[in-house]
């Protein structure tokens, strides 16, 4: 149902009371905004519905509060899917939440992330007014790409009302293969297998390397042959568990983003994206050479929050300038990228 007016009133009411707004949908990813405690939650959960879907144009436009599972079911009926494979932290997760969090699943290195599939957006700006950027077409270079700037911005620049997404046909065959091995051997396989035609995931967790084939039936035997000895067909549950962070760990969860060939370190509990994304668990900030990757705090564990500071390099300062320019009065929560204190 269209709740645009109510949402706009809620944002305007917060503006008039000098309150900060935290946009939310299913609120399954609240852990991403630990500093949003005092903010007023303005929820898009009732603002749902598919506005139009043209399978032959590979484009769908939805209201932000549409549940991800509902969109995925609609796409599946037409033989299509969201290639960015967002993680699910609960069935009430919304499309707006997917876009605001910008978290992509295991296919990220092979087909792209959330921002690569977002085409357009309508949102409530920090002024309380409604604006639209991008559109329902795949190629569009009119104006700066405000749409993609909002992907992964965690609601810091506006409250999304509508999102247009590019979708793709579901591959004919999807099959995950597993190999029991240690992390070092898993990384060797990951590097050696990077060019396999049809490779669409490569992750490691709980002593198993999981690689996925997506493509035609005809090309599948070639893929299996190239994998080599020891790989067995397995269900896709293991890959989904890595994607949704359903692996055992103690302490805070940190993400490391860096070079696929960087050495594997001790605190690592899972590896995804062919080695470009690694999940580290520890109470204290992991110390890893900064030239091959960056550690960011991601999800709280049981202990007290570690010492974190907003990213303060030139890019971090520019990010803050952009936030200040677009939201000068601080209507929406900030998105300081939190890094361990050096």
């Amino acid at each position: 149902m269209d709740q645009s007016d109510a949402l706009q009133q809620a944002v305007r009411a917060a503006i008039s009371r000098n309150q900060t707004v935290q946009p939310g949908g299913g609120c399954t990813k609240g852990f991403l905004q630990p500093g949003a405690g005092d903010a007023v939650l303005v929820s898009t959960a009732e603002h749902s519905g598919i506005l139009h879907y043209h399978p032959d144009e590979l484009v769908v436009r939805v209201r932000s509060g549409t549940r991800l599972v509902d969109l995925q079911a609609t796409l599946r009926e037409a033989g299509q899917y969201l290639p960015c494979e967002p993680p699910s932290f609960g069935a009430v997760g919304t499309v707006g939440g997917m876009v605001a969090a910008g978290l992509a699943g295991p296919s990220r290195p092979y087909v792209g992330g959330v921002r690569d599939y977002v085409l357009g957006m309508k949102l409530i700006l920090p002024s309380g007014e409604i604006a639209a950027f991008g559109g329902d077409v795949m190629k569009n270079v009119a104006g700066y790409d405000i749409t993609r700037l909002n992907v992964g911005a965690r609601g810091s620049l506006g409250l999304m009302l509508e999102v247009a997404l590019k979708v793709l046909p579901i591959p004919e065959v999807t099959q995950v293969y597993g190999l029991a091995c240690d992390a070092g051997l898993a990384q060797q396989h990951m590097l050696a297998q990077r060019r396999l035609a049809g490779l669409s995931a490569s992750a490691y967790c709980d002593g198993a390397l999981l690689v996925r084939y997506q493509g035609s039936e005809q090309a599948q035997p070639e893929f299996e042959q190239a994998l080599g000895q020891g790989f067995q067909p397995v269900s896709s549950a293991g890959l989904a568990a890595v994607r949704d962070l359903r692996f055992a760990h103690t302490g805070h969860l940190w993400r490391w983003d860096g070079a696929v060939d960087a050495p594997v370190v001790g605190q690592m509990v899972a590896m995804d994206w062919g080695g470009a994304l690694r999940w580290l668990a520890s109470e204290q900030a992991p110390v890893i050479a900064a030239d091959v990757g960056v550690v960011t705090w991601f999800k709280p564990g049981n202990g007290a929050l570690p010492a974190l500071i907003p990213r303060a390099d030139g890019v971090g300062r520019l990010q803050q300038r952009v936030k200040s320019a677009l939201d000068p009065k601080g209507t929406f929560v900030g998105y300081p990228a939190l890094r361990p204190t050096p």
Partner: protein, 483 residues
């Protein structure tokens, strides 16, 4: 302002070549949009990053506006010089710095041409996917500035989807690295924002591109249709069948004939519309894929169907499409290339509306179309020496953009706004939305020195434009004074 004192200071910078001679400066008077020309008062060609940085710092300190330029192949006037600013040519930054066959990336300077990247990595079994038609000459820095596309976007994406990281200088010379070392960077996605920013936010000094393994097998299907609607329906049917072609291009009768007369590609001249469909994949799957698509095209009413699977035959079919612009150039003294994108379901109506304008302005139009992604390139034929024809062509072009907007599309799919479409920006965006663009610009370039006057119109400019045009019955900028 670019004063004699500043020119003297620029002369002191090491590794900086200055072009002061008027006849040599004239070379830079326009980019691919030759209708707008402005001889730059001074051209700087830095030969090192330090020289570039000192140039930016000096201009920034003295409030001199700057335009960065790659190969100057852009089609919207994004690199048109300013009457009182410095033109900075980046063509000397043409080295490929690093090719990493394991990570499948290449790190290159901004002046490296698009095609040079694919050529350099071919021996490693890799290629760089975005392929704008000017790829032999256009530079990767310019590709980032325009978020360039090409014929393979449907499957492989735009420049944005194929750049992992880049280094840039802000207007004051500060160097920033965007994109991190992995596939995700914390904080706002400024890497995405830089793509298509038309040189207004920063100067790109290094680009790390993602490479892909060369496909094992490629085949091209060419189908002729009795009318454009049937061809458009065939495009829908191919995608409905779950196929994602590497390229899917459409040409109308005038474009087919011009291309055939020019390069003899073997096109069916009796067809009203032509589809070129490129499929790629592994050797094991390509035959089945091709058979499936051929069946879809037949069922959609293809009157002729040809497959080219060897490299020479494929190249011949593509030659006609890639030569469509110069081919049209042979049948008229001048042509004006438009670049709208529309939701494809409206193609027949949009083509009918364009045909109606063609009759109205008494100027022929040839259409080539990136059919897979809805990006339409009508080529308006005219004679620039006839000022009446020139004015009609410009009015026709503006009408085409309005038509694209009316059907839910955009005024530019891949050529950019530049100077050419700056007035139509007022029709596509509200005052509020334009203010957001200006805020972004202010965060990056508070002094407004990088490529001023391009891409994003001032609100006053829109007030003037809006006074002449009322869209969908409502003025787009009601809050602004009209004068």
């Amino acid at each position: 302002m670019l004063s004699e004192a500043i020119t003297r200071s620029l002369r002191q910078i090491d590794d900086l070549e200055l072009i002061e001679d008027p006849s040599r400066r004239r070379v830079y008077e326009s980019d691919g949009l030759t209708a707008i020309a402005q001889v730059p008062p001074l051209v700087a060609l830095p030969n090192s990053l330090q020289a570039l940085q000192e140039t930016l710092q000096l201009c920034h300190a003295h409030g001199v506006a700057m335009v960065a330029r790659g190969a100057g192949t852009g089609l919207s006037g994004g690199a048109t010089p300013l009457a009182d600013g410095l033109l900075i040519g980046l063509a000397k930054f043409n080295r490929i710095l690093d090719i990493d066959p394991i990570k499948m990336t290449a790190r290159v300077e901004p002046g490296v041409t698009n095609l040079a990247i694919s050529k350099a990595v071919a021996s490693a079994g890799l290629f760089y996917a975005p392929d704008p038609s000017s790829q032999i000459a256009c530079t990767i820095g310019g590709n980032v500035a325009e978020n360039s596309g090409g014929v393979h976007c449907l499957k492989y994406g735009l420049t944005l989807h194929n750049v992992c990281a880049l280094k840039m200088m802000l207007a004051d010379g500060e160097v920033l690295s965007l994109g991190g070392t992995g596939l995700w960077e914390d904080g706002l996605d400024l890497l995405a924002l830089l793509h298509g920013s038309e040189g207004l936010l920063g100067v790109v000094i290094e680009v790390t591109v993602a490479l892909r393994p060369l496909p094992e097998a490629v085949t091209v299907l060419m189908a002729g249709f009795g009318d454009t609607k049937a061809a458009a329906n065939a495009v829908s049917a191919v995608i409905q069948a779950g196929v994602l072609p590497a390229g899917l291009e459409m040409m109308d009768r005038l474009a087919i004939q011009a291309a055939e007369d020019f390069v003899h590609a073997g096109y069916p001249c009796e067809a009203e519309a032509l589809l070129l469909c490129e499929l790629d994949g592994s050797g094991a799957e390509i035959a089945a894929l091709s058979a499936a698509v051929q069946a879809v095209l037949q069922a959609a009413g293809a009157q002729s169907l040809v497959e080219a699977s060897d490299a020479a035959a494929r190249a011949r079919l593509w030659l006609g499409r890639k030569a469509a612009f110069p081919a049209v150039g042979r049948i008229a003294p001048d042509y004006y290339c438009m670049d709208g994108t529309i939701p494809r379901r409206h193609l027949a109506e949009v083509l009918a509306a364009i045909a109606d304008r063609s009759t109205h302005y008494e100027l022929p139009v040839a259409n080539v179309f990136h059919a897979g992604d809805g990006n339409l390139h009508p080529l308006i034929l005219y004679d620039a020496n006839d000022s009446d024809q020139f004015q009609r062509a410009e009015a026709f072009g503006a009408d085409v953009l309005t038509i694209c907007l009316r059907f839910g599309g955009t005024i530019t799919g891949e050529h950019g706004v530049g100077l050419e479409k700056i007035d139509q920006m007022c029709a596509q965006f509200t005052t509020l939305e334009l203010a957001v663009f200006h805020a972004v610009k202010a965060a990056f370039d508070p002094s407004g020195l990088l490529n001023p006057g391009k891409a994003i119109p001032t609100l006053n400019r829109c007030a003037e434009f809006g006074a002449m045009h009322v869209h969908q019955g409502a003025a787009k900028h009601p809050s602004l004074p009209r004068f």
